[in-house]
């Protein structure tokens, strides 16, 4: 790389892992835009970090900034010139201030109308000088999930800042760039790893980024997060292989662990055999969430080992392994205590206690919720095509929320549902029941697997629809970024289950049913049901475009016709997406648009086919009768493609009709008959899609 380089290192107390990726990204962007704005073009910017330092490196810089021109706005034209066009003192003063002659002033359009403007010649300054300013602005522009103050309390940053290295140079980084942030002045020395190399580490004279990375590596610091991650993955795989295991894949945790350390080390610890009797989910959650340990597997089961990451390469006295083993053992013993405690009574015995757990201030307890969900589930299960065993569904609804009052869920809230499912299984509940309880919270929005059976699908949909109807009824409607009950995610999960399980219930009707279960039949329930249905419809649109890959206009055409049985909505959308490009289909959008306009304008007419005597209208009538049969036949077979192609055959007779027939004629009865024919065409189309939405105009 030709040109000079710049290296900035900010040394802090441990920066939260969740803040670091954002800091690197922001620094890269802030530097790139500042460099461009200051006439440096687009040199290569690299951001690196550990928990204790953040680094920016810029390559390919000139020694001196390029000369630039800058347009500066001055006073309004009115104030700059007198009526005879001579400059006022305001104009003269402005020109002087900008170092240009008054004659060089131009008129320009400023944000507040016409102003005089000067083009200022900016002489390029020494690059290091500009870099110092850029670095200070970029660092101060950083935003964090949570900022803090320290010491005298005058500064705010992600964590207390202790050191700044800012070096510039062509062959070697040998020129300190003066810079001061939060009371800390830049210099040329940093420190190494806290334990491995705590002393001062001189950077001055280093050869470029690779030289710096090498110096840090010698001082026990791996500055590149991707490299730390690679080492952790390799180390984990090797330690697992030693005991004939594999690492349970956990990319999110590995990424987090890589952010937590400067020097990625890893140790393997043993788990006492007796803990393997705990449910695997509990074992994994304890180790993963509470101890940030990687879990090892052998023959698809949790093996009696774990891997713990440490911020050093070695474990010279085995203390780190023994310490982690002790902690993991303590955590698992705790989980075992909760498990044994919970297992003293069957899950069903805990239902009573749900009366004391409030679901929502205005909406009563979870005992109430369980009743409502059960009532709604019965309605959903009565839908044609739903094959959920009634007895199993009733049991699953009754047990679903009981785990909320177990000690295990009290300790591991993320295991709600799963713990209930496990306990139901251990209580000897049938598979359909325990699996439904286990799966009730999956998927979370678009992520996660579907419930395994029909009972689980109905329970999952009923539970979420009840939550939506209950909270909408209580005025807890999400708005903007505020969605404290994650209702959007719940609605999306409902749509996904209905689409993919699939569950052939009509969601619009189900939303209304859910509102009636909560509020009783009446205006209130009607309004709530409509609002929930509209909310769900929005998620259907999102599902069609984001998941099913449907174009927005096709999604709109399908939903505008009718929606609710999501699997059918998706199928119609896919079919429409497939046929819309076909030649026969092209004129249909315009033709149908005219149909809709006409019907909307003319109102409904009385159908009297005998009055239709002109050839074009007889032809259309005949075609409609035939296509109605074709569409019905296709619909019964679920062949939307055939149905849509049948619709396409109406394009020619419709165009002939509009060319030859005067719909809005003076004869009132004839007009009504013609409108009735068009209304029939409209109804026929809307069984599949409102293709007028595909119109180019």
């Amino acid at each position: 790389m030709s040109g000079a380089e710049f290296l900035l290192e900010l040394r802090c107390e441990e920066i939260p892992a969740n803040a670091l990726p954002g800091i690197r990204e922001q620094l890269s962007q802030l530097f790139a835009s500042e460099l461009a704005d200051n006439g440096f073009g687009a040199p290569a910017v690299t951001s690196l970090s550990t928990a204790r330092r953040v680094v920016v490196h810029v390559a390919g810089l000139p020694e001196t900034q390029a000369d630039r021109e800058e347009e500066v706005f001055g006073p309004p034209v009115r104030a700059a010139y007198t009526s005879d066009g001579s400059p006022t003192p305001a104009a003269i003063g402005f020109a002087k201030g900008q170092g240009v002659s008054v004659d060089a002033l131009r008129v320009a359009k400023g944000p507040k109308g016409e102003v005089v403007a000067a083009t200022r010649q900016l002489k390029g300054r020494p690059t290091p000088e500009v870099l110092g300013e850029i670095a200070a602005r970029a660092v101060q522009a950083l935003r964090f999930p949570k900022a803090m103050r320290w010491g005298q309390g005058g500064h705010s940053f992600v964590r207390p800042l202790h050191g700044i290295v800012a070096l510039f140079g062509a062959d070697r980084l040998d020129q300190v760039v003066p810079l001061s942030l939060f009371g800390v002045d830049s210099g040329s020395a940093t420190v190494g790893h806290r334990v491995a190399s705590p002393g001062e580490l001189e950077i001055n004279g280093t050869k470029g980024l690779s030289g710096y990375v090498g110096l840090l590596a010698d001082a026990g610091v791996v500055i590149d997060p991707a490299e730390r991650r690679r080492r952790l993955e390799a180390g984990a795989a090797a330690l697992a292989a030693e005991v004939g295991c594999t690492v349970r894949p956990d990319p999110g945790l590995v990424a987090e662990l890589a952010e937590l350390v400067e020097c990625p080390g890893i140790v393997r610890g043993d788990i006492a055999e007796r803990f393997l009797a705990l449910p695997q989910e509990v074992l994994v959650t304890t180790l993963r969430h509470h101890q940030k340990c990687l879990v090892l597997e052998r023959d698809a089961a949790v093996a009696p080992f774990f891997l713990a990451v440490c911020d050093r390469p070695d474990d010279p006295q085995g203390l780190i392994r023994r310490g982690n083993e002790w902690v993991a053992g303590a955590r698992l013993a705790d989980a075992e205590f909760f498990f044994d405690h919970d297992r003293k009574a069957p899950l069903a015995a805990r239902r009573e206690a749900l009366e004391r757990v409030v679901f929502h201030q205005k909406l009563g307890s979870f005992a109430v919720k369980a009743e409502k969900v059960a009532a709604l589930a019965v309605e959903l299960a009565a839908t044609r095509g739903v094959k959920a065993d009634a007895a199993a569904l009733a049991s699953a609804c009754a047990l679903a929320k009981a785990d909320l009052v177990t000690a295990m869920v009290g300790e591991f809230p993320e295991l709600q549902g799963i713990v209930g499912g496990i306990y139901a299984r251990l209580d000897g509940e049938p598979e359909a029941v325990w699996q439904a309880v286990y799966d009730q919270y999956t998927p979370a929005g678009l992520e996660g697997a579907l419930p395994r059976g029909a009972v689980g699908a109905v329970l999952g949909v009923a539970d979420r629809l009840d939550t939506l109807a209950a909270l909408f009824g209580a005025g807890e409607v999400p708005s903007g970024s505020k969605d404290p009950f994650a209702l959007r995610r719940a609605a999306l999960a409902v749509v996904r289950i209905c689409a993919e399980a699939p569950l052939p219930a009509d969601l619009g009707a189900a939303a209304r049913a859910a509102a009636v279960v909560r509020q009783g039949a009446g205006d209130a329930a009607e309004a709530t049901g409509a609002a929930v249905a509209e909310f769900l419809q929005e998620r259907v649109r999102h599902y069609l475009t984001a998941v099913a890959g449907i174009s927005p206009e096709v999604a709109e055409a399908v939903i505008a016709a009718r929606w609710g049985v999501i699997a059918d909505d998706v199928a119609r959308a896919r079919a429409l997406e497939a046929v819309r490009g076909e030649e026969a289909f092209a004129p249909l959008a315009e033709a149908f648009k005219r149909v809709r306009n006409m019907v909307a304008k003319g109102g409904a007419g009385r159908a009297d086919a005998k009055l239709l005597t002109e050839r074009a209208e007889r032809d259309l009538l005949g075609a409609v009768e035939k296509v109605e049969k074709d569409v019905t036949k296709a619909a019964n077979r679920g062949e939307h493609l055939a149905g849509l192609r049948a619709l396409a055959t109406l394009a020619a007779p419709l165009n002939a009709f509009f060319t030859d027939v005067m719909v809005l004629c003076d004869d009132e009865k004839l007009r009504a008959a013609r409108l009735a024919l068009l209304a029939r065409v409209e109804r026929l189309f809307l069984r599949l899609a409102d293709v007028s939405r595909l119109s180019a105009r």
Binding site: R149, G153, L260, V327
Partner: protein
């Protein structure tokens, strides 16, 4: 290292680093943070350094002496350094060395863990400190207390003493740790845990607790309404309310809806106490220094440099 040596070593270490070695507060509190030596001293401009052990009451965490890791009453070593010094992390690590923990043989990590107390209108930013994977301390830069933005900022270090002792002694149960010599923690404390659990979960008279909660609320407000207000008595009354709330909560007598309201009642008083305390210190001319008008903005701890305290 037995429990009492742990306490003595930490007290000596922090005493040598400019801390006043204080005593536990003589009221039931949920955490060392509630001790006026923390809650009040972190307010206002006056520099301060203090260390003390605080028995901390968490009635809902009690387990009838049956769970080897959970206690209804445990010991915290609390250290406040105001303002937080630049080398606070190093000092902390040195304090571990004073417990015989050689940093060069262990893994010490600072993982983000922020702290918030809705009861005190307080929050802070910081870490949990992990020693070989074991959480041994909370490390917090206080940002706000009693609803007031703090300036300067205090660093709070809280050592979970039983946990550290269990870890150092490699015991499987808290009741097995050696308190002094060979005498086990359980021999001294187990029966308390059994009785305090039974009281908190089964026996406490909820109506009485509720009544006293309201009584102390009035008493606290009455002290604050005086001119000048009685700050410490008002705070003590609010702390009693906090403990009464914890007992009601353990007894299962606090509905979720009511919870926020009850905590809010304590917080309102804590906020008034904080405000009254700052006003009182200002009237007294900030006797410990730190106020800008005294030209003492440097904010050195009262006992001066490292190791000079007696």
């Amino acid at each position: 290292m037995d429990l009492q040596s742990l306490i003595l070593s930490l007290s000596r270490f922090w005493g040598d680093h400019g801390c006043i070695v204080q005593q536990p507060y003589d009221l039931e509190v949920g955490a060392g943070t509630m001790h006026p030596e923390t809650f009040l001293r972190v307010l206002g401009p006056e520099p301060y350094r203090v260390a003390y052990v605080q028995p901390s009451r968490r009635p809902a965490d009690a387990r009838f002496g049956e769970n080897p890791f959970r206690l209804g009453k445990h010991l915290q070593m609390q250290v406040i350094l105001k303002p937080s010094p630049d080398d606070v992390q190093d000092l902390y690590i040195q304090s571990l060395a004073a417990l015989g923990i050689d940093p060069s043989a262990h893994d010490i990590r600072f993982e983000e863990d922020n702290w918030e107390s809705p009861t005190l209108g307080a929050w802070g930013v910081g870490w949990q400190v992990l020693l070989d994977g074991m959480e041994i301390s909370q490390f917090t830069y206080f940002q706000q207390a009693g609803g007031i933005d703090l300036k300067p900022i205090s660093a709070e270090l809280t050592y979970g003493l039983e946990r550290i002792a269990m870890f150092l002694q490699r015991k499987e149960s808290v009741y097995d740790i050696a308190w002094g010599g060979d005498l086990a923690y359980g021999k001294i404390r187990h029966q308390d845990e059994v009785e305090l659990s039974r009281y908190a979960f089964e026996v406490a008279d909820v109506e009485m607790l509720r009544r006293h909660f309201a009584d102390w609320e009035q008493e606290s407000a009455r002290c604050l309404d005086l001119d000048p207000p009685l700050v410490v008595p008002a705070l003590e009354a609010a702390l009693k309310m906090s403990h009464l709330f914890n007992l009601m909560d353990a007894r299962g007598a606090v509905a979720v809806t009511e919870r926020v309201a009850l905590i809010g009642r304590v917080r309102r008083l804590a906020i008034r106490c904080a405000k009254a305390y700052i006003e009182q210190r200002e009237r007294l001319g900030f006797p410990l220094g730190g106020a800008r008008k005294n030209g003492n903005g440097g904010g050195r701890p009262p006992a001066g440099a490292k190791g000079a305290a007696r």
